[in-house]
Structure formats: C-alpha cells, structure tokens
C-alpha cells in the first residue's frame, strides 16, 4: 500500500461524506422554501374575520374561508367514518390470513388502488354517486376520499399487526379466549399506536386532495353542514380562487394555503406524539 494511494482514498472518502451532507441539506431546502414563501404570503391575510366569514361577492373586501374550513372538516370526518372501520378490519383479516386466495386478491387490489390517480377516483365517484343522485354532494366527495384512504389504513394495520409476536396471540388463546376477543382485546390494543398512526397518515394524505372533490363535492359559496349538498373545501377553494382574476380572491387563496399547510403540519406532529406515547414496549 503506497502512502499516496492511501491518501487518495482517504480524500475520496472524505469528499463522499461531504457530498452526503450537502445532498441531505438539499432535501430540506424545498420544504423550507415552501414554508417561508407561503407564510410570508399568507400570514397577513389571516385574522379572526378570515376564519369565520364566508367569501364575499366579487368586489367586496373582507370575507373569509369559513365555509371551506367547515366543509373540509365535515368531508374528512365522513370519509374517515367510512374508511377506518373497513380499513382496520381488512388489515386484521390480512394479518391473520397470509395465504388465502381472498388475502391475495385483497392485497393486490390495495396495492393497485394506491397507485390510481386521484382524478380517476374522482371521476369514478362522479359516475357512481353524482350522476345517479342527480346532484353534487359532500357525501360523494367523502366516498372518493375514503377510497383513497383505504389502502394506507389497510396496509399500515396489516404491517403493525404482523410485527406483533405470535407469542402474544398464543398466550391469549391458551387462556381460553375465543378468537374475536384475542384480536380485539389483546392484539389490537397492543398494536394501537401503529394502527392509529396509519389512520392519521391517511387523513393527512387526503386533507389536501383536490382532484377527487372537483366533480363530487364541487364547491359551495355558502356555509352548509348538509352532506347531501355540495360543499366547499380548502383545496377546492385554493384551486378556484387562485386561478381567478380577482385580487381579493387571491388573498383568500394565500390565507387558505397557509391554513392547509399548518393543518397538515400539526397533523403529522400530532401523529408522532401519539405514536410515541401509546407505543407498547414489547
């Protein structure tokens, strides 16, 4: 081994280390840039009026995003009510039955569904619910979003439960517990943090989805809590108002973007906290 050879290789190694640091930092830059930009643009637009008023007609100043805020919350809640039970139970089924035909098809469908473009799901929901019922509704929007949530909930539930040791199930069975109790009183409680984080992640995912809501919830300039009516939601509002020619509406869009961003950020942080707190040390 020549001294110069060693020196060259050491130098190369050092250079590589520097490169990894630089590139890692480069990943953080887009996030920081977006945050900075949106906070700067939106922070001045947010105030109490902003949050509790509906948008005013064009030309009038003031107005807010109350309808979109309420609409988003409602649509997401209904979507969660649809997707979570189905997703968790499907995840439980998959973790218990590794090799059955049904499990194979279920896994395959979930994987494919995860890759379906959101706008296609929106169109499908349109043909399923909007056309037959003859009107746009928040419900149809929720259904579309639920379909998008499903793969995440199913997969994370399955993976969480698969990681639990068999000995847990055996201990419960050996105590004379019927199978449904083993699942719901032992397995699920121990894996609850993983399941919950999967649920939170799926909600964070759909919070900002616009395309599925385009032909389903459609949007509504008024505040409504009736899910059978069309409803406004934050992404929709941003989409519509940002591309409009009115400055007032641009302002609303910036403010709404900031709110949406903060919402997603807090949801992620909240998920991390819950996961850590409820994680069961095996």
């Amino acid at each position: 081994m020549h001294a110069s050879n060693v020196k060259y290789r050491l130098g190369k190694s050092y250079g590589f280390q520097i490169l990894t640091y630089v590139l890692a930092f480069a990943c953080v830059i887009p996030l920081l840039a977006i945050l900075f930009f949106i906070i700067k643009a939106g922070i001045t637009k947010i105030n109490w009026h902003f949050l509790i008023n509906v948008p005013k007609p064009v030309g009038e100043s003031g107005g807010g995003i109350a309808n979109a805020l309420v609409g988003s919350i409602l649509i997401i809640i209904v979507a969660a009510i649809i997707a979570i039970p189905i997703g968790i139970l499907a995840g439980i089924y998959l973790s218990e039955n590794r090799k059955s035909r049904l499990a194979y098809w279920c896994r395959l469908s979930t994987d494919i569904l995860q890759g379906v473009p959101s706008i296609v799901i929106g169109i499908v929901a349109y043909f399923w619910l909007v056309k037959p019922l003859g009107k746009f509704s928040a419900l149809s929007g929720s259904v579309a979003l639920a379909i998008m949530m499903l793969p995440i909930v199913v997969r994370s539930t399955e993976e969480t439960l698969k990681l639990l040791p068999d000995s847990l199930k055996e201990a419960a069975l050996a105590l004379g517990m019927p199978f449904h109790r083993v699942i719901f009183k032992v397995i699920v409680p121990v894996g609850i943090s993983g399941i919950l984080s999967g649920v939170m992640l799926s909600i964070a995912r759909i919070t900002g989805e616009t395309a599925p809501l385009l032909f389903t919830a459609f949007g509504n300039p008024y505040l409504t809590t009736n899910v059978t009516q069309p409803m406004q939601s934050l992404p929709l509002l941003i989409f519509n108002y940002a591309t409009s020619p009115y400055n007032d509406w641009h302002d609303l869009a910036w403010g709404a973007s900031l709110i949406l961003l903060l919402w997603v950020l807090f949801l992620n942080i909240f998920t991390k906290l819950i996961t850590r707190k409820w994680k069961v040390q095996l």
């Binding site: 000995s167 847990l168 419960a172 050996a174 004379g176 517990m177 109790r181």
Partner: protein
C-alpha cells in the same frame, strides 16, 4: 377421583403429510410432575400442544386418536373449555405488555369478559401470585406494567396467570430455556409446590432438568414414545437402548 387425569391412546399428529407424532399411548397420573424429553424434532412439543388443542390452530395441522381428560374426549369438547381446564406456559415469557401486573394475572377473566367483584379479583391475584412465590416481590407494584421484572419473574407471572384460571393440568413448553440459571432454579422449585394442586407436564430438552424435577419421564424419539417410566428408573437403569444412548449423550 380416578388417578389418571390424561390418557392418550393411539394418538397421532401431523403437519400436512409430515407425520410427527406416531401412535402414542400414555397415562398421566394426577398431581404428578411428568417430564417429556427427547432430541429436537422428536415430536414432544407437538404432542404437548395437542393436549390443549393449540396444535390445530396451525394451518394444515391434523391429529387423530384418543386423548381424554378425566375420561372425557378432549377432541369432542369445545376447545375453549379444554383450554380453561388445561393451562399452558410458553418458552419465552409472554406477559401482556400493555397490562399491569394485576391485570396480567386476572387477564384470563378480564379479557374473557367475566365480571368479578373487586374483592374476588383481589383474592385471585394474591392467591395466584403467592402460589408462584411472587407476591412479596410485586405486591407494592401491582399497578405497574411488568416490563421491569426480570426474565424469571416474568415467567412466574405467566405461571400465575395460568394458575389464576384454576386449571387441572398445567403444560410447560421448555419453560426455563430462555432463563438464566438462578431464575431456572427458582422456577424449578415451584414445580414441587405446584404439583400439590395441579398436574404438571413439562417438555424439556434439558435432561438434567427432567431428572431433577419430575416423578415420571417420557422419552420421545422420532415421533414415537420410546419409554415412559419412573424418573429414578429411567436415569439409573433405562429399559430401551435408545433411551440409554440419549441419556448418556451418545447421540443428541
């Protein structure tokens, strides 16, 4: 009360086409400690799991033959009832990690939805923990989760959990192979006290342990029950050559 508590006649068990337990005939007497020993893969654990019907939970697992608990055919009873009468302790201590020590002991009742008055629950917990010599060590930390307990204490907690169900038989699947020597001897001392109230069947690959703790020993080899006799006789003058070879370490 008849003195044989578990009886097997022509009992076979398989995993699919793999015939792992062949034609076992054995009488287990009440309030005795029976050791089941043999080399790896001889079918002893499979046989044990057939007694409390855990074997059939594995996909593709089958068994046939007669297996009786107090003259009732185990395979005609509902498996839940079988497991309430025949408890099991596993190789790795597996207390429920999300429950406190108190809740772990009472888990068989609580998680099964059986509602008991608090006085009764307290009595069961104290009684079971005393039976496994753990009461004095944990009585002030009953509400803590069991994660601070040592391996030996966790295993005794699992035994307490099984004992709380007041079974007639306790099955042990290599209960000390994951424990250090001191914890092992603490658990072994328990067996002598437990046999007063229960019948114990212990699968072990440690034949010194079988010699130390049991009254009778069964030697399994390649799925067959080769010899079943008083432990004293088995270790001083076994009748079958295969038993002698195994005990003297001539083959593993």
């Amino acid at each position: 009360m008849e003195s044989t508590i578990i009886k097997s006649r022509n009992f076979n068990a398989s995993f699919g086409t793999n015939h792992v337990v062949k034609n076992v005939n054995i009488d287990i007497p009440r309030n005795h400690v029976i050791a089941v020993m043999g080399p790896s893969g001889c079918g002893k654990t499979t046989y044990l799991r057939c007694i409390n019907r855990m074997h059939e939970l594995i996909p593709g697992a089958t068994c046939d033959g007669e297996m009786k608990l107090n003259d009732e055919n185990i395979y005609e009873m509902h498996p839940i009832f079988v497991r309430l009468k025949i408890g099991m302790v596993f190789q790795r201590p597996n207390p429920f990690p999300n429950l406190s020590i108190y809740d772990n002991v009472i888990a068989g009742y609580k998680l099964n939805g059986v509602k008991l008055p608090k006085a009764e629950r307290d009595r069961i917990v104290e009684h079971s923990l005393t039976r496994v010599a753990l009461w004095n060590e944990v009585k002030d930390s009953l509400n803590k989760k069991g994660s601070f307990l040592s391996g030996g204490q966790q295993q005794r907690l699992c035994i307490a959990r099984a004992v709380a169900m007041e079974p007639e038989v306790l099955l042990f699947d290599e209960p000390t192979s994951a424990l250090d020597p001191i914890s092992t001897s603490t658990v072994e001392e328990l067996f002598h006290e437990l046999k007063v109230n229960y019948t114990l069947i212990i699968v072990t690959h440690n034949m010194q342990q079988a010699a130390r703790v049991s009254d009778k020993t069964a030697f399994f080899y390649m799925g067959e029950l080769v010899e079943y006799d008083e432990t004293k006789t088995m270790f001083t003058n076994p009748k079958d050559n295969r038993t002698q070879n195994y005990i003297t370490g001539r083959f593993s």
